[in-house]
Structures are given as C-alpha cells and as structure tokens.
C-alpha cells in the first residue's frame, strides 16, 4: 500500500466532480482527501486526490480516471519530484502555560495564530501532510477543539507542466 497524489485537470462541467467521486466509491478505491478549485483557465478545474493502494490498484485508479470523459489531463505527482501543500486551521485550548507552548510550536512549524480569545488560539499552518500531522502530535496534552484541513494540493517540481 502506497500513498499517491494524483492531480487532474477536469472540464469545468456540472457533474464532473461527482463522476470522479462516484468512480472512487463504485470501485471501492481509497480516497484520503480530495480538493478541487478553478484554475486560471475558467473552462477547467484542478483536482488533487490523495489515494492509496497497491501498485496494481493505483494503476487501475489512474486508468479509470483517464477514461472519464471529463478528465482532460492526469499526472501522478508521486511518480516524480513535486511540491505538496496542505492548509490547516486548528482551534486549540490556550490557557495558562499552554498559551506560550502553543505559540512556540506554531513558530517552530512556521504557522501563525490567526484568531485569539481568552481561552483559545486558532492557528493556521501550511505545509506537507506529514508536517501538519507532526504539529498535531506535538501538541500532546494540549486540548484540540477543532481541526479543519484543506486536503493536499500539489504541483510538479521543475519545468514539468500539467496543462492543455
């Protein structure tokens, strides 16, 4: 089982998203996160899917995605050098010593505190999924009230371009 980040250019048509989502559920493929938004070309959306499976299954996932008529281009970012980012907002308890501890951790992880109350900090961190996971782990005894993550997005390193 390996994790793969698959990036798609999708026709910006109603229903295109559900074709992709439907494919994953109909064929019982894993989907860890899915993020989709318009691109600079308004006729297309860019979708990033984080999935996992054996090599055979991931091969099928790529082929089945490519078969969808709305899929214009596909790249498996994990096949080569790439940049991966995910945005996380986390609301954590910030009382007593924890107030300083959270701030320190946020600095270490290059995040920022974007909202403050007497008892909570809301922090924002953008990094790879692993780093976001580590941040949450490092909070250890500090109470986490709420976590929201955008799902990973990614782009190939170097001059490689996913475009029509």
């Amino acid at each position: 089982m390996n994790e793969h980040i698959i990036s798609l250019l999708l026709e910006n048509e109603s229903g295109a998203l559900s074709r992709v989502a439907g494919l994953f559920s109909a064929r019982a493929y894993n989907i860890e996160s899915l993020s989709v938004a318009p691109t600079d070309d308004e006729t297309m959306s860019r979708m990033t899917i984080v999935t996992s499976g054996t090599d055979e299954i991931v091969d099928q996932i790529r082929k089945q995605l490519n078969k969808l008529v709305d899929v214009v281009q596909l790249v498996d970012l994990t096949e080569s050098e790439h940049i991966e980012r995910e945005l996380m907002l986390a609301k954590v308890e910030a009382v007593g010593d924890a107030r300083d501890e959270v701030k320190r951790l946020v600095d270490i992880f290059n995040g920022r505190v974007v909202d403050v109350t007497d008892t909570t900090y809301t922090v924002e961190i953008t990094d790879t999924r692993d780093k976001l996971d580590s941040f949450l782990t490092s909070l250890s005894s500090i109470k986490i009230h709420e976590v929201v993550r955008s799902g990973a997005i990614g782009i190939s390193s170097g001059e490689k371009i996913l475009a029509v």
Partner: protein, 563 residues
Amino acid sequence: MTGAEIVVRSLIEEGVEHLFGYPGGAVLHIYDAIHQQDELQHILVRHEQAATHAADGYARSTGKPGVVLVTSGPGATNAVTGIATAYMDSIPMVVLTGQVPLHLIGNDAFQEVDSVGITRPVVKHNFLVEDINDLASTIKKAFYVATTGRPGPVVVDIPKDITGQKAEFSYPRDIKLRSYNPVVEVESAQLKKAYELILEAKKPMIYTGGGVILSNASAELIKFTQLLGSPITNTLMGLGAYPANEKQFVGMLGMHGTYEANMSMHHCDVLIAIGARFDDRVTGNLEKFCPDARIVHVDIDPASISKNVKVDVAIVGDVKEVVTELNKLIEASDQRLESAALTSWWQQIEEWRAQDCLKFNRDTGSIKPQFVVEQLHEVTKGNAFVTSDVGQHQMFAAQYYGFNKPRRWINSGGLGTMGFGLPAAMGVQLAHPDEQVACITGEGSIQMCIQELATCTQYGLPVKIINLNNGFLGMVRQWQEFFYEKRYASSYMESLPDFVALAEAYGHVGIRVTKPEDVRQAIEDAYGKYKDRTVFIDFIIDREENVYPMIPAGAGLNEMILV
C-alpha cells in the same frame, strides 16, 4: 426550428432509422415533432426497459448505435436496467431522456428525477442540455462518444422547455472533445514483442471476447487463427467471431465452457487474449488461472489491461487493426509455431475433446432443452439471429446452437439481465426484416418483459419465442441443488400462465410441445407456415436438467463438474 425539431433532425443527420421509445409529459414536444415527419420511425414499446433492450438488440446485430427516447422520472428510471445492460457489454447506444423544465430542476417537480445522477455509474458519459444552442452539438457528441473507442451507452437529458424554444439548426460535421481521444496509435514495438512471444509457444491458446465482434474483426481473427494453427475459444460475448463448425474451435470457455476449452486454457503456455476482459465467469479462481502461460492481451481499453490478470505483453488498440498488423508480421516471415509441439498439443486437445462433454441423455422420453436448441440450429441452418434471456436456457443456447457468424448471438453477458431476450429480438427483427430471429428463453425470464408481445403485434414482428419451460428458475434451482442441499427457495414458478392462450390473446400463434418427437415439427412450422407471424412455442422440458460442464465458484478451469 424548435428544440424538438432539432432533436429529430439531429437523429436523422446521424442516420437513425428506428427510435425505440415511450411518450410522456416531458417529451411531448419531441413526439409531436416525430409525428410530423416520416424519415425516422418510432417504435412504441410497452415498457421503457424494453425500449433500451430493443435498441440494444438493434445495435448488437447491426453495429450501429441503438437509439432510445423516454420521458423524465419513471421513464428514465425504467430505462436504467437496459442502459446498464448495454454498458456492461460495451454496446453503442444513445438514450434521450426528457427532463422537467430547467427552472423546476431540483424542485421535486412531478416526474422529476436526477437522470444524469442515476445513470452516471452505468453510462460511458452523460449530458444535461442547459441551452438550446448546445442541443445539436450535444447530440453529436453523444453519438461520437457512444460509437468510438470502447463503445457504450450515452444519456442526453433534455429539459422540456428547451424542446419548446427556437434556435437556428446547424448540425456539426465533426466534433472534437479535448478530454476524449478514442484513436489509439498501435505501438509497433508491442506488436513485435507479442509476435515474438507468440512464436515461442508450444501450447498456444487464443481466447477472444466481445471486442472482436464490436470491432468487426472476425475475418482477421479467422486468418490469424489459421495462420497460427492454434486452438481458439470464444467467451459468451464472443461467440460467432470464429465459426463454431470449424475444427480449431474448441467451444466456449468459462463456468459452463467445454472441457476442451477450459483444459486448453489451463495447460497452454502462451495465451493470446483478444478483445476479452478476463471476467470472473471466464477465469474461475484467479489464483489457479492459466498457471503456465505467458499472456498477450489486445484491448482497446487500457483499463482492461492487467485489471484482473497481470499480462506479459499488452497491445492497446482497435482489435481489427491490431490483428491485421499481427497477420502482416506473420505473413511477412516464414517463421511459424514449432510443428511437432503443435501436433502433440492438438493430440492432447483431441483427447479432451473425446470426452464429449456436451453429450446428454436423449432417451428419457421428456424433452431435453439441449435437443430443442439443436433442432433450432438444424431448422435455421445455423443462420438465425438468436437472442436469449438469462439462466440455463442462455447457456444451452450458447453451448448447443453453434454460431458460425458474428452478431448472430445476442445476449446480456455482463449484467445478466432477465427480460432482455424478447425486446432484443424485436430490435434485431426490425433491423433485419428478412432474417430468421429466435428468442431462446425460459418461463421465468420471458415474464419479465412479456408485455412486448403487444409491440410484436403492432409492428408485425415475426420473432419466434422458444420458451424452454421447466417450471423452475432453472439456474437458481441448479445452484440450490448443488450448493443448498436441494432447498428450492423461491425457484419454483407457480401459477404459470397458459402461454399458448396468452400468445393467442396478443394475436400471435401459440404452440405447446410436450413430446420430443414433436419438437422438430413445431420449429419447422414456426419458420414455415407461420413464417410471417410471431410464434410462441412453449416447450415443456425436463424439469431438472442441469447445465454441464460447470466450474463451481472458487475452482480453477481444470476443476469442472462433468455430467
């Protein structure tokens, strides 16, 4: 031109002659437009499921796309089974569904259903038309997608208000979709690799499926097989691609395949799979599948390659093109398969063949279903178009009819849809008015679309219904006999109608046959004195006959139950 007229004109531009459908509120504008022209003939079925199956039979027997028109809501949902049937067997079909007016979509309006959503998992693609100016080009795209690459059904959902609006009509000559490119360049390196691997075979085996039929590659396949001198088997979907009466043909393979076909598969050292998808009913237990074989796989769909069985050489491309190229490579060289090895391989196969696995007891006094199919073959000289439903009768038809030409055997292989046979036969008969058409069915399946006897009356369709009536859902009963200690849960058909009286009530000829000696005469009458009539022959057959050979679930191809 109104949207409704645009729909009709677009279909005519596509060369559509028959449109199978059923009217309703959301498609009334379109029906009105159909009524006012005579280039396109509408065939009124009695249930939308039958419209899709009839269009499907039409498509399978001609290679042209089948076209369907149904209304919104229940019209669309009733069509879903037929759409899924076509999808599983990669049949080109365009289904136009009416939809409530645009402003009512999402409003739980009368006869509203999310047709695009409901059909999404069972179509190659689907469209909702949101602007009358996109109507003609969307229909063009639908035909293009349905008929190219690996074919399949495409749904176009058309809101009623759009069919009432007006726009200029211009039908696009060509269409391009940047996200869909069905033309695959065959890689010559792969061809060469395949050719080299094939020539190394000592025990070759050719296994072909529905892709050969869809690609119209029968002639190329025959040449390829004969150049190699290899045994060949066809899947249920591929029957007729290679003539059954030819000696290199070892019969169908799979769960109810012949002993010689399955044993040849199990023992071959090079397997050449063409236009077939290694379906579970074909492979049996994957762990035990072709243990000694290196595999070449030719398919137009990259997603079919190494999906179930990992292959050694894959060639993605249109079967006809690929096999033509392989033939050229073979012909250009004087290298052939090693003849001593091939001779001993054939000796082995002949020993398997000598088992005569399709033999059955002919002296029981009751009518054997196998015998009925054999007699049908003789009377029609093996030239009939035969449709079937799903179950034992389907397997008997596949095993005993002996198809010598492609597109003559029409059945729901992938989805296994009971109710397919009769409407499919109607579609076949409409496409081939002068040909002999038979629907081999059972008393269970036929009742799933029996209302279509009325459609046969309306259009004077002389299909012959061969009802193999054993009073049981035969295949269910067979499994219950083998695997559930004969607890026949709900597999007995009680309260059967009098099929003869029923046929007559619809204006047809009904014949009941209870004795083996009357079988031949009944079939001869159906194609003779009742040639121009719809004939329903109710054969009262041996109640507990089983389909053999059989590979039980979880077993390998070499682990067949024989008679």
